[in-house]
Amino acid sequence: MARIGVFICHCGENISATVDVAKVAAAAAKIPGVVHSVDYKYMCSDPGQQMVSSAIKEKNLTGVVVAACSPRMHEPTFRRACAEAGLNPFLCEMANIREHCSWVHEKGEATTNKAIDIVRTLVAKVKKNKALLPIKVPVTKTALVLGGGIAGIQASLDIANSGHKVILVEKEPSIGGHMSQLSETFPTLDCSQCILTPRMVEVAQNPNITLYSYAELESLEGFIGNFKARIRKKARSLDEKLCTGCGLCCQKCPTKKIASDFDAGLGMRPAIYVPFPQAVPNKPVIDREHCTYYLKGKCRLCEKVCPTQAIRFDQADEIVEVEVGAVVMATGFDIKHGDFFPEYGYGNYRDVIDGLQFERMASASGPTLGEMRRPSDGKVPEIVVFIACAGSRDPAKGIEYCSKICCMYTAKHAMLYRHKVHHGKPYVFYMDIRAGGKMYEEFVRRAIEEDGVQYIRGRVSRIYERGGKLIVKGADTLLGARPMEIEADMVVLATAGVANPGAEALAQKVHISYDSHHFYSEAHPKLRPVETNTAGIFLAGACQAPKDIPESVAQASGAAAKVAALFSQDELIREPLIAVVDRQAPPLYSTCVGCFLCQTSCPYQAIEKEEIRGRDGQLIKTVAKVNPGLCQGCGTCVALCRSKSIDIQGFSHEQVYAEVLALLNRGESDV
């Protein structure tokens, strides 16, 4: 038999000014099951809370309703008070008679009656409440960082330096990401490699970080604090422990003419290669698609020259299984290459290059050793046209969003070009200059004012080649949209920043949401920018949207802080307001019919299949089961289940139906 205590608060005069609290207390006392009903000036004060706990003890209460302010305000306070008095905190409910009643209605009978309705509703609910235990989940204090660009590097270092283990997975042979390809970086023009390589080395040396390069995530299962990841270590075709990174094999490999991805196709590399000299780890891989041995069965020159006999032609991919408590997605972005733009020649003209190619050309360690040499004939380009928004802000041929970084790197490119070719003429076609950032606008102005970069406001209509020149047809909308032509030696397209080709598949693998462009979605665009909607998985860098280095690093540190906060607990405690599928005694076991409608509706993939087997091990039925680590208690599944087999603790069918009935059947006897 229920023994409910009702405590009505005056909130100074906040409630009592419009609600007749004494009348409410009297009415509450008459509700069947209510054994104690009082009103008091400030329920949340110490003496108020004291009243609640002593009543629990003295009257053996089985449930408590505090009629006061919003539960969003003081529910934790009163639940704590109940717990201290030995009553399960989930047997305490609040009736909101302040925000939803006394503050919003005039003084009068109707308002008092509404307050009584609210109290009656919550009393009906609390009678159906069940004692719930908070859910405790253990936390594995190792983080998995996917992607070793600057964002992944920063996140790994921050987590490792806060004393936790990190497993960093990078799909390329070396970490470094796009930043390692850059020449100098805006807005300070410091050399990218110079600031990046120390960080890369730190990663290699930090005892808390395990680096799996040339590796990819195979699968991820589990939930916050308790993920299981399988990582595929692709075969490097050599024994990393034996290899000293001497580079002899790379020098001697006869297959030398493979377009280097790292050099954005402008340079060549051998079949056994290290992407760039400062690579971490500085160990080569054999590119099996191009190596003569794998193609024709002959060569093995690298094996012969290797002083440590490290080459392993028959090495197979290896799967490593790890347990981690949190995941940081830092897989970065990609840019569109020139071949998507019909009017700019579908990528046919060798001297129409993209931004990354320009970076490699400008880089002192690049294929031209930092000299401006156009790809077709190696001539120094005298006139260079830069085209901003190439494929960005272009729903017809590219993407509708602004890629954010290209205005800045275009200004940088034009500037670097002028620094290297003093008599050269750089022109930039632009639509708007987006330079919102510390020292960014000043940087662009410097390009214009000090380095003489000519900005022309308009979008280029077409590029074609004639007599070794590129004819760029544009218009200046600030001069009456008059068409104009520039005979350029080289054109640099600031092509759109887009998601990695594999981004969607990876998101599905780890169950995080992504937008229509396959960038990963943050949990809230303003207030939870480094979290995903899946608890325990965080975001860093350009995998969320195109970003520059400062932003990528800031977000990476933010994600690392979130991971460190998670790892500061041994166990996670969560409110048990989650879904459960009913379980009954045999022979029924559960009313669940196994339709799994709930599974398809759950936004968090929290519903699993469970096989119920008899003692002989024979399958009796397959029913739904909620993973308490994943369920967020949204209740979508509950509304969909036709057999009413799944219910949500704290908002159960029984509870909400009791509420509705109590609310509407004023004065009628209890249900």
Binding site: A110, P603, V638, L640, F651, N665
Partner: protein, 144 residues
Amino acid sequence: MSDFEPKIVAFVCNWCTYAGADLTGTNRMKYSPRVTIIRFPCTGRIDFMLLLKAFANGADGIIVSGCHPNDYHYSSGNFHARRRWIVFRGLLDFLGIDVRRVQFSWVSAAEGAKWAQLVDATAEQIRQLGPFSGYHKLRGAGVE
């Protein structure tokens, strides 16, 4: 009919509309006392049998309100609610309940004023529609 005072039940989600209604209170905006709120984790939790149950027990009108579609606490539950609402409208019609008796809306945690307007507009609407008298039929139809 002028002194008819409707009974309206509001099913609202905890994260947006409940908080929005709190804000209405904090700002001391006044609205009709004919509406009483029942709190849910999300509008996706609301199954429509519950709404029918409310009608069968004498509710004259119902408000269902949750987060704005893009601003949602649980990534897709309110879309589910929205989709089910379309089916439910048909069902209401079939049962002879005027669909105007159910208000489906979005009120965010910041929209205190919108909540007050929504309540008043609904109360006025229901007042004009008059008391819901079809619940005996509903009970006959097995909803009870």
